[in-house]
């Protein structure tokens, strides 16, 4: 008996459902408030608009978390300088649009160039240092960038410690007037990158990256030039993070220099730890939970929010050993196995010979 592989819709039904929900989200929220979809379509202010803003922030964070998951969760490079990737994107976009008056296409070109260059910069130190030392060197590189951004000498371009502000966003993606469009653009970019990442992770290239994570020496023994694979992962992560940074500049009125600091790298680490290291949808879920948690706690608890936040991280670490998605996957596969076992035992009790049935199939 030949078993047909499940159809596309069946296989990805949960992902497709979530996507559909996200597409409909602005309109549904609008309905709750009494606003018709047309009103939402024409970007009238209201709760829907606010939720769109929050969702855009989550999408940007998710993109950033994905990129960190690629180099940390899949390739096993612990980098403490990841915020630099994001901040370079954010600052370059702002400076290109504001100080040099480039259009979006030219800005995009500059961004791609910068993304590759900074990945190569990290690549220079790759063969020299490993493990925690790599983390410290990347921390050093990103702190230098942070300090450059904060310095008063470049204040005309970067806004020093006040932050970059006054960037004029082209009208058709301005978060003020065309927020719904920006929402869909961000969502599309996220979905596209998620698919690229899925492809990357499942490709032979991605498999070698996982092999490097598990045991670099063995991957080398098998004849792989691990440096090139790590560099490939770094470049892809850098491009993603730079685009996330560019979206950040487009959405936020002020680009704070905090996004270049160690704290923002830690944010990425927390997001993928919450979701589950080395699972792509873990990064997405982690970003959503992180942002919503932060938002909710800040709103209802005010100043003591970070205390509760910290407590929640500690609890997650103690009780959800592999992040939310990771633990859920583990439990799910276990319970499926349990269910099958129980089902088989039930059948045997009734008198059906499971082994024979299985062989007949």
């Amino acid at each position: 008996m030949t078993t047909s592989s499940p159809s596309f819709v069946q296989r990805y039904r949960i992902a497709l459902l979530i996507l559909l929900a996200l597409v409909l989200l602005p309109f549904v929220i609008g309905l709750f408030e009494g606003a018709s979809p047309f009103e939402v379509w024409s970007n009238q202010s209201g709760i829907s608009r606010f939720i769109q803003g929050l969702a855009i922030e989550i999408f940007i964070l998710a993109l950033y978390a994905l990129s960190y998951d690629l180099i940390f969760g899949f390739t096993g490079l612990l980098s403490f300088g990841h915020s630099m990737f994001f901040a370079v994107g954010a600052y370059l976009t702002g400076i290109a649009l504001k100080s040099f008056g480039l259009n979006l296409g030219q800005t995009f070109g500059v961004l791609m160039l910068a993304a590759v260059v900074q990945a190569l910069l990290f690549g220079i130190v790759l063969p020299r240092v490993k493990g925690i030392t790599f983390a410290l060197v990347t921390l050093g590189l990103s702190s230098v960038f942070h300090i450059v951004v904060m310095s008063r000498e470049l204040g005309d371009y970067t806004g020093a410690d006040v932050g970059l502000q006054g960037v004029v966003i082209p009208d058709f993606i301005s978060p003020a007037t065309e927020r719904l469009r920006l929402y869909f653009i961000t969502l599309t970019i996220l979905v596209v990158f998620y698919l690229i990442y899925r492809r990357f992770v499942d490709s032979p290239l991605g498999r070698v990256c996982k092999a490097i994570r598990e045991n670099e020496g063995r991957a080398q023994m098998l004849g792989y030039n691990t440096f090139l694979f790590k560099l490939a992962a770094l470049i892809l992560a850098s491009i993603t993070a730079v685009i996330a940074g560019a979206l950040h500049t487009i959405y936020q009125p002020i680009v704070s220099p905090d996004i270049a600091g160690l704290g923002f790298t830690v944010t990425a680490l927390l997001m993928i730890l919450i979701g589950g290291v080395g699972t792509l949808h873990g990064a997405l879920a982690g970003a959503a939970i992180f942002r919503l948690l932060d938002f909710g706690l800040r709103r209802y608890l005010g100043e003591s929010a970070s205390f509760v936040n910290g407590a929640i991280y500690v609890l997650i670490v103690l009780f959800l050993p592999y992040g939310i998605v990771g633990t859920w996957q583990l439990k799910a596969s276990l319970s499926v196995a349990h269910m099958r076992q129980g089902w088989r035992r039930l059948l045997e009790m009734v008198g059906v010979n499971v082994e024979r049935r299985a062989s007949r199939e």
Partner: protein
């Protein structure tokens, strides 16, 4: 051609790097006057000593336990705040002792619970739920009792009763003795009983949550109850002598009080470290990367707790009388005279040196360096630690109880950080952010010196401290750049950048750090 010794040949890169640093140092020294040089040197030593206290504990913990304790900076800060409390508000300290002793006395009964738990059948629902009920009710009882416990604290909202004011008054030598903790007419007995009960419940909960696959032989003798009775009695006696003790501490010479503050800060730091390791970090040895998240979470919690208890504004801790005088014969001509007249500053080649900041702190750093070095080299614990850093599994295989050693090392590391904090408080003051900057300094120092190397921690801290202070000094006087003759003044952001750059350069030349293990 003369033969180069093998030691030199194998460490050629390191020696060349060190020579280059020395040459840079000499170049830096030649640009400033002799007096500036000495003062900058001493300041560099002071920063280096404080960094070393954080870095050495961090590196011991990382070397033996493989835990990157990112809460180390926060614990440094907590040490400073606890020391300040004992020093400026001994009454609060005395007030807290009684509840603490009672809680711990209840806690020491774990063995009794273990014996009782073995009689309850395993794997029953009751067995699974009971510990959580015990823990939660214990916590609830604790908070309920503490709400009514009259501990003399300060009032953050009222400026006259804020830590800033108390600090200022203590610096002026005016110490107002606040009324000590009393229950008024009500009987304190219910509160005491409640605290002991809360401790018992918590200990019951913790005992039951632990998997008891291994049946340990527990014998109940009078010894099992001795710590319980001792601590409970101690707590009650402390409550009885609360007032005289407070008055005695307030009238005590500030030098002795400072010593007590340092001691208490180190002890409570060590206790906190042991508690942290035993309850939170121990379950995570199998999942190393999650320790990062745990310690980050703890660090956030710690900072918020400090903000809740001591408030956000920065304040200072007055120096002990021995180093605070400015009366007759001050500033002193020599160190001996400074100590005799208890001067806060002394003259050296026309420059003023602050005795506490620039002489006492580096000296204590040096003493700790030697003391921990002796512990590592001469004692059995030190031998186990050194062996564990080399190869943990082997030490375990030799039948040494690594668990206990882990807890002790964690306590030692955090104790060192707390010592650093309480020593730093009189010289740089207390703030919510003091921990983070020192943690970053310590990380850089360790990367420079070698992550798990004890002498490396010392060398790295020294380099970091020196570099920072020399850059700050040159920021004031300006560097005359060679050949161009332009005066360049490094701006404040260059200070952290310089140490980070030094770290990156050194790591690229010697990936394992200067004195680290070779891969």
């Amino acid at each position: 051609m003369a033969k180069i010794p093998a030691v030199v040949r194998s460490n050629l890169t390191v020696i060349l790097t060190l020579l280059a640093i020395l040459a840079l140092f000499a170049a830096a020294a030649s640009g400033m006057s002799w007096q500036d040089f000495i003062i900058t040197l001493l300041r560099g030593l002071a920063v280096g000593a404080l960094t070393f206290l954080v870095a050495s504990g961090f590196s011991l913990i990382f070397g033996l336990l493989d835990v990157l304790n990112l809460a180390h900076g926060t614990l440094f800060m907590v040490g400073a705040y606890i020391g300040w409390t004992v020093y400026v508000r001994p009454d609060t300290f005395v007030d807290i002792l009684t509840p603490l002793a009672l809680i711990i006395s209840g806690f020491t009964l774990g063995d009794v619970w273990r014996l009782l738990a073995q009689r309850v059948p395993q794997a029953s629902l009751w067995r699974r739920v009971a510990p959580w009920i015990a823990l939660v009710s214990g916590l609830a009882l604790f908070f309920g009792v503490m709400r009514g416990y009259p501990i003399a604290l300060w009032n953050m909202d009222n400026y006259a009763e804020s830590p800033v004011t108390f600090s200022f008054l203590a610096g002026q030598g005016q110490r107002v003795i606040p009324p000590s903790a009393t229950f008024g007419d009500a009987s304190p007995l219910p509160a005491f009983a409640g605290l002991i009960l809360a401790g018992m419940l918590a200990s019951l909960g913790l005992t039951l949550t632990g998997r008891s696959d291994i049946v340990r032989k527990v014998q109940i003798t009078w010894r099992t109850f001795a710590p319980f009775i001792g601590l409970a009695a101690g707590g009650l006696i402390l409550f009885a002598v609360n007032e005289p003790l407070t008055v005695w501490l307030f009238t005590l010479d500030t030098n002795w009080l400072f010593l007590i503050a340092v001691l208490i800060a180190v002890l409570s730091g060590a206790g906190l470290g042991a508690l942290m390791e035993a309850t939170l970090i121990r379950p995570l040895y199998v999942r190393p990367i999650y320790q990062l998240m745990l310690t980050l979470g703890l660090s956030a919690i710690g900072i918020e707790m400090v903000r809740a208890i001591w408030g956000r504004p920065e304040f200072t801790m007055p120096k002990p009388a021995l180093f605070a005088g400015s009366g007759e014969g001050c500033p002193a001509e020599s160190l001996w005279q400074a100590l005799q007249n208890s001067c806060s500053t002394m003259l050296f080649q026309g420059g003023r040196i602050r005795v506490y900041n620039e002489i006492v702190v580096p000296l204590i750093g040096l003493i700790v360096l030697v003391a921990v070095w002796l512990v590592l080299k001469r004692t059995r614990l030190g031998m186990i630690i050194r062996a564990g850093v080399q190869d943990r599994e082997m030490v375990e295989a030799l039948g040494i109880n690594v668990r206990r050693v882990f807890t002790m090392v964690f306590a030692l590391g955090v104790g060192l950080a707390a010592l650093g904090g309480v020593l730093a408080a009189p010289s740089i003051g207390l703030s919510n952010t003091m921990g983070e900057s020192f943690l970053l300094n310590a990380l850089i120092a360790l990367a420079i010196g070698g992550l798990t190397s004890y002498p490396g921690a010392a060398l790295g801290s020294l380099l970091v401290g020196m570099l920072q202070q020399f850059i700050i000094k040159y920021g004031q006087i300006g560097i005359t750049l060679p050949f161009i003759g332009v005066v360049f003044k490094p701006s404040p952001p260059v200070v952290p950048a310089s140490t980070v750059l030094l770290m990156v350069i050194i790591l690229l030349i010697v990936p394992g750090g200067l004195l680290g293990r070779k891969e």
